[in-house]
């Protein structure tokens, strides 16, 4: 038998395939599998790594902080979404009632023209960016999420608020057919619709995004589909989900958690290890999936980017 020994200088297959493509082989496999609805074995492979199909085009984040991502499964199975339930584990199973088709967002207040925009039209107008951010809940747990979104500053420039607008106010959809707790007359978990707000300079900061997806894929319902706010240096409750209304206003909006308990939750809600929650310490945090805790960073690790916004403010007072 003739046997040709491979020389050291000879390229192997891996070297010839562009690395980019080589790394995409699984995505390719998935696409094939999805269109062909082929043999069960391939579908099993898909189910195994539990990653969604990438269905968004975006500019990749280089992850310069070398953050370790939480899994898609973790991110989509532990959600505070009181419109469904106060149980973080159950949201995933209840969120199917949220219908995001033909989603409209009302834009009103101190803008040139009050409009209602269609979500699908809206995201076509903007570049999508991947943003790998730490996400720190006021309750003391945290995760790292690869969000996909549009820069809120891009959006604000597009709708062009007038100079009287000092704050931006967000509202979650109110629809008690989709959100069971909104139909709860006697003991709703919080006041609905959920309201959040940002000062205009916070909103214009480069870190602030309107997220429409994660892990390269459209936003799962339990994470606040189709569009939600992400402000990575603030506690998670600022990052309002399923936004249906955006208003530009002169006065500081009264956000839902401040309204519910102003001694414990304020308007700013900046992540701050030096200011405890009245009931628990904020010095350290529990990373999802781990038994061990890690230090919480000032402004959740985004001090360089945002500390200037709060110069001269007493952060023990403006919680």
């Amino acid at each position: 038998m003739k046997y040709i020994k491979k020389q050291n200088w000879q390229l192997n297959e891996k070297d010839i395939t562009p690395e980019e493509l080589f790394n995409k082989r699984r995505t390719f496999l998935k696409l094939g599998a999805a269109t062909a609805v082929s043999a069960g074995s391939i579908m099993e492979v898909l189910a195994e790594d539990k990653l969604p199909l990438k269905n968004l085009t975006f500019r990749k984040d280089t992850n310069s902080n070398n953050l370790i991502l939480n899994s898609y499964e973790q991110i989509t199975s532990y959600n505070n979404f009181y419109e469904f339930t106060t149980s973080k584990e159950r949201v995933k199973y209840m969120a199917h009632t949220l219908d995001t088709n033909n989603w409209k967002i009302t834009i009103d207040g101190l803008v040139d023209k009050e409009i209602e925009v269609d979500f699908d039209d809206l995201i076509k107008k903007f570049t999508l960016h991947e943003r790998i951010y730490r996400f720190r809940c006021v309750e003391g747990w945290s995760m790292v999420v690869p969000w996909i979104g549009i820069k809120l500053s891009d959006f604000i420039k597009y709708v062009n608020p007038n100079s009287k607008a000092k704050y931006i106010r967000f509202e979650t959809l109110f629809d008690d057919d989709m959100f069971p707790d909104q139909a709860n007359m006697l003991f709703p978990a919080v006041d609905y619709p959920y309201v959040e707000g940002l000062r205009m300079d916070e909103a214009m900061n480069d870190l602030t995004i309107l997220a429409v997806g994660l892990y390269g894929s459209k936003m799962p319902k339990q994470n606040g589909a189709p569009i939600r706010l992400i402000v990575p240096w603030k506690y998670g409750f600022k990052s309002i989900k399923s936004i249906a209304k955006i208003s530009f206003v002169e006065d500081e909006p009264l956000n839902t958690w401040q309204k519910s308990n102003s001694k414990e939750y304020g308007f700013f809600a900046n992540v701050n290890p030096n200011v405890d929650h009245p009931r628990w310490s904020q010095k350290r945090e529990r990373v999802l999936g781990k038994f061990f805790k890690q230090d919480t960073l000032m402004f959740n690790g985004y001090e360089k980017e945002v500390a200037h916004l709060y110069k001269g403010m007493d952060l023990t007072k403006y919680i």
Partner: protein, 184 residues
């Protein structure tokens, strides 16, 4: 036989927790999970233990009250160790300061100290001597209830049902005491 059955049933939440944490290994927030599982189980068991004297006319479980009470302590101990070992990471200075500083924490620590006292004095010999002090369980349960309510970010119907049940139980207990006194 009955004792063995009670022993097994009350151990189930513990085994269930181990199963979820280490075999399924799908718990997203383990420290929080241990808090909730041990806290709720301990509270429920301690409430059962005070119901025993209320229902003795119909079902007499007085013989097993110590076993049930000790289980209440067992789950409270897990809850406390979770605080000290996993949550505070054996930083005793932190544990001490938090306990002094935060009502939410000391409202959990005080009933735990009561439970330690009751556990130590639950032997036949000591129980005779300290029987009267075991009424402290009512104080412990009131504090545990406040601690439990404070642990919630917002109150839902479940917590209100819980509060109503506690008031009803207290009322029932009081009524029984008055009736018993009048008999004498």
């Amino acid at each position: 036989m009955k004792r063995f059955l009670i022993f097994i049933v009350l151990l189930l939440p513990f085994l269930f927790g181990l199963y979820e944490l280490f075999i399924l290994a799908n718990v997203k927030d383990p420290i929080k999970y241990i808090y909730t599982l041990s806290g709720v189980t301990s509270t429920v068991i301690l409430f059962i233990s005070i119901y025993i004297s209320l229902i003795r006319k119909w079902v007499n479980l007085i013989k097993y009250r110590r076993l049930i009470g000790l289980y209440g302590f067992f789950y409270a101990l897990i809850h406390f160790l979770n605080f000290v070992i996993l949550d505070a990471e054996l930083n005793f200075d932190f544990v001490f300061k938090e306990t002094i500083d935060k009502p939410f924490i000391y409202l959990g620590v005080i009933p735990f100290i009561i439970l330690i006292f009751m556990t130590i004095t639950s032997t036949k010999k000591l129980f005779k001597k300290f029987k009267n002090y075991h009424k402290l369980i009512y104080l412990a349960l009131i504090l545990i209830t406040i601690h439990f309510i404070m642990a919630q970010k917002s109150l839902t119907i479940l917590q209100f049902i819980y509060i109503v049940m506690i008031i009803a139980t207290g009322y029932w207990k009081l009524l029984q005491q008055i009736i018993n006194k009048n008999k004498v």
